[in-house]
């Protein structure tokens, strides 16, 4: 009869902590609807892999197999990028390309956090922690894997932080924006000068971005290339069903597998550590500094430009598409119900998506 209870004796307090963390992630996913497609599989997976002697993470266990097949070799993040690229309409930045500069400024959090993290961690680990500020899970996984290897102990915390803070954008960004702007600045109205972008431009754009990013920052070309490949499928006009599949079926399937596979990195003995707490804290810094970088750059722009822009849109450069754009739009409406910032914030938001991927490539080039 011993076999009925001997497994219970193997339970550790760290595993119990992970069950609680898994429960919290499931709660946030269902009750608060925070990134449910990711947090729910991650939460369930956290419980699954932390049962004593779990068969899911043995050498040939399903989570181990999925992890090796899709995360250790970076396949899942890249495939997900095809879906993300197919979802994004880059027309707002083709209409007003200078807004891309705000996407660049909002990557400040990545590098600032890297510096802060270097107080506690070696530089490569610090850089992998900084990339949480890309506000883009696939980029964080890709860069972390390249720099540290998929089996590094801190990868689990980096992945959890990257996805959790993306879900918390509506909570993290508004107080930072309010602290850095006056009510008068938040009420600045911006005219949307919409103009027709030719189909040829939309088709050439993903090819052009891939070539330029590849020539200047070759390490970014895998990420940028897959993102832009997805966009080319969308814009070419002859692959409608493939575009639909990439946007929905492919993205959903990969998100599901990615979420549960990440749990491989949430095994108690590696995850329950002070390092994890530090990484979670540094992840918050990354999002705060990203937001601050974008807003402050917009204020700087207003000092030298005749045409004033609402500095809040700078914060949308954080990536986290499209949540950040919606947050800025809602904040604008709250200050002035006639102020519609959506198109501007979407433009900055999609440029943040490109800039964060390029930042990831630059970090790979630096280390």
């Amino acid at each position: 009869m011993e076999f009925l209870y001997e497994n219970l004796l193997d339970i550790t307090w760290q595993q119990v902590v992970m069950w609680i963390i898994g429960g919290v992630l499931i709660f946030l996913a269902i009750k608060k609807e925070m990134e449910p497609a990711l947090l729910l599989p991650m939460g369930f997976g956290a419980i699954l892999v932390n049962l004593p002697n779990s068969g899911a993470i043995t050498e040939h266990g399903p989570i181990t197999v999925l992890f090796n097949a899709g995360i250790a070799n970076e396949l899942f993040p890249l495939l997900l990028f095809i879906g993300i690229g197919a979802m994004i309409d880059f027309e707002p930045i083709l209409t007003n390309p200078k807004l891309m500069l705000f996407g660049a400024a909002a990557q400040f959090g990545i590098f600032m956090t890297m510096s802060l993290a270097s107080i506690f961690f070696p530089l490569k680990e610090a850089a992998s922690i900084g990339i949480i500020g890309a506000a883009d899970g696939p980029t964080a996984i890709f860069v972390g894997n390249e720099l540290l290897g998929a089996d590094n102990d801190i990868m689990g915390a980096i992945m959890v932080a990257a996805y959790s803070y993306m879900a918390l954008v509506p909570i993290v960004q508004p107080p930072v924006i309010k602290a850095l702007t006056t009510s008068k600045e938040r009420r600045i109205r911006m005219q949307y000068k919409g103009r027709k972008i030719s189909k040829l431009t939309k088709i050439l754009f993903p090819v052009f971005v891939t070539v330029i990013a590849g020539l200047i920052a070759p390490d970014s070309v895998a990420l940028v290339g897959f993102l832009m490949f997805g966009n080319l499928i969308r814009e070419c006009g002859v692959l409608g069903s493939l575009s639909e599949t990439a946007q929905h079926a492919l993205a959903n399937l990969i998100t599901l597998l990615l979420g549960i596979s990440i749990a491989f990195q949430m095994q108690a003995e590696a995850f329950v550590s002070l390092n994890t707490l530090l990484i979670i804290g540094l992840g918050l810094f990354a999002f705060v500094f990203d937001t601050a970088g974008g807003v402050l750059f917009a204020k700087l722009y207003n000092l030298v430009s005749k045409e004033k822009i609402n500095p809040m849109i700078g914060a949308a450069g954080i990536s986290a598409f499209p949540m950040s754009a919606r947050v800025i739009h809602k904040m604008g409406l709250k200050e002035d119900p006639q102020n519609f910032l959506l198109m501007h914030s979407v433009a900055v938001n999609v440029s943040g998506q490109i800039a964060s991927v390029i930042a990831g490539g630059l970090i790979l080039s630096l280390f």
Binding site: W13, Q14, I93, L94, P97, K98, M100, L101, G103, A104, Q107, F108, I110, F111, M112, M114, S115, L116, S118, I119, F120, P122, L123, A126, A127, K196, I197, S198, L200, T201, L204, F205, F208, V209, I212, A213, I216, A217, S273, L274, N275, L278, S351, I354, A355, I358, A359, L362, I363, S365, L366, F367
Partner: protein, 62 residues
Amino acid sequence: MNALVNLLVEVSIDFGRFASSFKYMGIGMLGIFIVITVLVLGIVALNKLTAPRNKKDDSDNE
């Protein structure tokens, strides 16, 4: 208690690394602005090259 002590021992603080990281921060931010500026200029050029010709030009051509 031992487990908690072990958790604390894991973290090492090194301000020398912090100072040396500023070089990477500077290069990184500069790099990203260079790439994005090239992209902005490229998009402006792309828009001009692929802009539909106006009617006057078309009638001239005819």
